[in-house]
């Protein structure tokens, strides 16, 4: 019996060992497992027969008692495990807190009950384990979320139907809508779920024709990222060529002007004035060195913007591409819906910005400097500083104080409410800088506020960069000699001493 059991166990060990080593279930593994299983079965039968012959009626209660205890232990272990499964207590001990979902993503998941998630994977893809954990975390936060996993080579029809091209892809389905995420990160999942939610937030008309930033361009200098994000969060984007505008259409909720480089036609400016007067919203991104006519309209609403460049020496270290202090990191925010969640640890980054001076046209108007530089900032009349790469900018005696870079105005005239957001820089929302720090949140929340959609204001999930710093080799080597090898050496010496003493005792 023992020989059979031993042979069976050896065969099973080699059968499974070969499978784990090669990740291939071939004839060798199969033969070993079959023979091993048979060997063990035979040993078990022989053992049972022996038990029957040696055990009498007196032994039965003893065996039953023992088996009862085993059964009780299994039941307790199983119940406790299931209980713990339902209690769902888990701690995220990763350095980047990778599995603590962002509050905005959790909010979104809660708004999508009955979500179906499918994971398409290749068993050899190492990214899958992380994606599974992320999906588990999403399922924990949702109501009636169903998760299924498919080996990518087993479901070619699904790949075809949903346009899935690679392993580690997630398919989110709800009702008759679906979204595919090919490289699942919190940010990508957030955007996919937002599209699945199909919010209708309103119509944004983007001014075109006077050298404005292009929302269709996807290179660094374009604004395709911003347009895509606006569409994701439910806005319909339309182009409005100012050359031919006589009136802003009634169904437009908000105008977006991305740094016009030439003067806008007076007719178009008048149309904008009328649009604002009837309660339309305006988000204006300006640049130093340009007077397009929008500055004049903003001044009429109490948001005067002198054509000077903000220099903030608090962040004077040049990155080598700009003059020192020209690119301020902003961490001073006034309490306002737009800046909800932004603080000293949630900064925004601007490059070559102009500032604003606030003067209320009427007492009831609400004007706020939502984002400001540090107290050391001053204004330079010399627009040439924008091109002085890496050089320092001499302080010209201008007073150093907080300089507003983003300002917001809320005006009520004859029961009609108008909202305007003006930002003294447009680069911060370009594809190059949109996802730097919290720039995306500032512009998106600014648009939501101007469109009177405050509930949509939130901080979006950020890319959680993995730990990619080296542990110095010299230190590692010292540690290896000092601890890694010393501990086993000491243990070996102690073991040797014990052995010698036992021999001599």
């Amino acid at each position: 019996m023992r020989e059979l059991a031993l042979a069976g166990f050896v065969a099973i060990t080699f059968g499974l060992g070969s499978y784990y080593a090669t990740n291939h279930f071939g004839a060798f593994s199969l033969a070993n497992l079959s023979l091993g299983g048979l060997g063990l079965l035979a040993a078990l039968v022989l053992g049972a027969r022996r038990l029957r012959f040696t055990g009498g009626p007196h032994s039965r209660p003893v065996v039953l008692h023992g088996l009862g205890l085993v059964l009780a232990a299994i039941v307790i272990a199983f119940s406790a495990e299931r209980g713990a499964h339902h209690a769902d207590v888990r701690l995220d001990w990763t350095f980047e807190q990778r599995y603590d979902l962002d509050a905005s993503l959790v909010d979104l998941i809660e708004q999508l009950p009955g979500l179906k998630i499918s994971l398409f994977y290749d068993p050899l893809d190492p990214r899958i384990r992380r994606t599974r954990l992320l999906v588990d975390e999403i399922a924990r936060h949702g109501k009636k979320v169903r998760v299924k996993a498919y080996k990518i080579d087993k479901v070619p029809e699904k790949l075809e139907d949903y346009g899935i091209g690679s392993s580690n892809s997630l398919l989110f389905r709800r009702k008759d809508r679906y979204q595919v995420v090919e490289r699942p990160t919190e940010g990508a999942i957030y955007e996919a779920l937002y599209r699945l939610l199909s919010v209708e937030a309103g119509v944004i008309a983007v001014l075109r024709g006077e050298g404005e930033g292009d929302p269709e361009v996807t290179t660094d200098l374009g604004y395709g990222g911003l347009a895509s994000m606006l569409a994701t969060e439910g806005y319909e984007i339309r182009s409005l060529v100012t050359m031919s505008v006589r009136e802003i259409p009634d169904d437009v909720d908000l105008l977006l002007a991305i740094a016009p480089q030439r003067g806008i036609q007076p007719v178009a400016l008048d149309a904008i004035r009328r649009f604002l007067a009837r309660g339309g919203g305006l988000v204006a991104l300006l640049e130093p060195g340009v007077e397009s006519g929008l500055e004049e309209i903003l001044a009429e609403w109490g948001l005067r913007s002198p054509d000077r460049v903000v220099i903030d020496p608090a962040f004077g270290e040049s990155s080598g591409t700009e003059a020192q202090g020209v690119c301020p990191l902003v961490h001073v925010y006034e309490s306002h819906p737009i800046t909800r969640g932004l603080d000293r640890n949630h900064m925004t980054f601007f490059c070559g910005a102009r500032t604003f001076e606030l003067r209320k046209p009427e007492v009831e108007d609400e004007l706020r400097a939502v984002a400001q530089t540090s107290a050391r900032a001053w204004l330079s009349d010399d627009l040439g500083v924008l091109d002085r790469r890496g050089r320092s900018v001499e302080h010209a005696g201008e007073a150093q104080t907080y300089r507003p870079i983003a300002v917001a105005g809320r005006y009520v005239r004859d029961d009609v409410e108008t909202r305007i957001l003006a930002i003294g820089d447009s680069d911060f929302a370009s594809n190059r800088y949109l996802r730097a720090l919290y720039n995306l949140d500032l512009i998106m929340n600014g648009v939501h506020w101007t469109a009177e959609r405050e509930p949509q204001i939130q901080l979006r999930p950020k890319i959680r960069s993995t730990v990619q710093f080296p542990l110095p080799v010299a230190d590692s080597l010292q540690m290896l000699y000092g601890v890694g090898l010393l501990v086993p050496e000491a243990l070996l010496i102690v073991g040797g001493v014990v052995w010698i003493r036992r021999r001599t005792a």
Partner: protein
């Protein structure tokens, strides 16, 4: 209780009175240190290759996302150590019951006023403590190296918690195997075989239904301790290993009943 403590003390004395315990501790600590250092060295090298000046340096986004401490060091170390434990722990547990049985000293133990349950509890407790000590000794070097870098100490703790629980689960399997035989060889080989079967049921998935595959997956060792390597400490997985230890103790205790019946 006094008798139980006396038995635990005796088991400890017997364990640390022989060089085997020290050799095992030495081997595990050495293997861990070398594997960890090797992965750390390789990680640093790859990182420096990617970050070399002609590729943009550390500040740029030129380093692929998968080159990080987590994927390049923690995960492979955890996988290798997990398999090392599958090999090492049955060697540690094979003698615990089988040796007593072969020498006939288990009869003496039963004849004392200790119950079979207490005998099993003492032996399991000593083995679990030894496994914990083994993992603690092997934890020293990686912990200091990581702490010096100021990164990921908490994640490494999760990795080691997972490894310790995995070791305890394997010890429970090994002790059960040792309890049913007087041959240390049979105990070790059956321990390996059962540990391999329970390691991962990926091999059986092509032959069973999806729900069966999921059920088998939920009792496998690898997916359970694997989530610790991702830095996730879940109560469910901790309870799974505790349950494995409890069931192991009950089965080992049952071996005493079987011995009384079969002689």
């Amino acid at each position: 209780m006094t008798a139980l403590m006396a038995l635990i003390r005796k088991e400890f004395a017997s364990l640390f009175g022989s060089p085997t315990a020290y050799l095992t501790l030495t081997m595990v600590a050495l293997v861990t240190a070398l594997i960890f250092f090797d992965h750390l060295r390789l990680y640093n090298q790859i990182l420096f290759v990617y970050a070399s000046s002609n590729m943009g340096g550390f500040e740029s986004d030129t380093i692929p996302d998968y080159i990080n401490l987590w994927d390049a060091v923690f995960f492979p170390v955890m996988e290798t150590l997990g398999l090392t434990l599958v090999g090492a722990v049955p060697l540690l547990t094979m003698r615990v019951f089988a040796e007593e049985r072969a020498r006939g000293t288990d009869e003496l133990l039963v004849s004392t006023h200790l119950t079979p349950g207490q005998i099993v509890l003492a032996k399991f407790a000593v083995t679990f403590l030894f496994v914990t000590l083994m993992m603690s000794v092997s934890f020293v070097y990686p912990a200091i190296a990581i702490e010096r870098g100021g990164l990921g100490a908490q994640h490494l703790s999760a990795v080691y918690l997972g490894l310790t629980l995995h070791g305890i689960g394997l010890a429970a399997i090994g002790l059960v195997c040792s309890a049913f035989t007087s041959s240390q060889l049979v105990a070790a080989v059956s321990g390996w075989a059962i540990a391999f079967v329970l390691w991962d049921f990926g091999w059986i998935q092509p032959f069973v239904s999806e729900s069966m595959a999921r059920a088998l997956d939920s009792i496998a060792l690898h997916p359970r301790y694997g989530s610790f390597s991702e830095g996730i400490v879940s109560l469910e997985n901790v309870v799974y290993f505790a349950g494995l230890a409890l069931v192991g103790m009950a089965i080992a205790r049952f071996s005493f009943d079987m011995r009384r019946v079969s002689g």
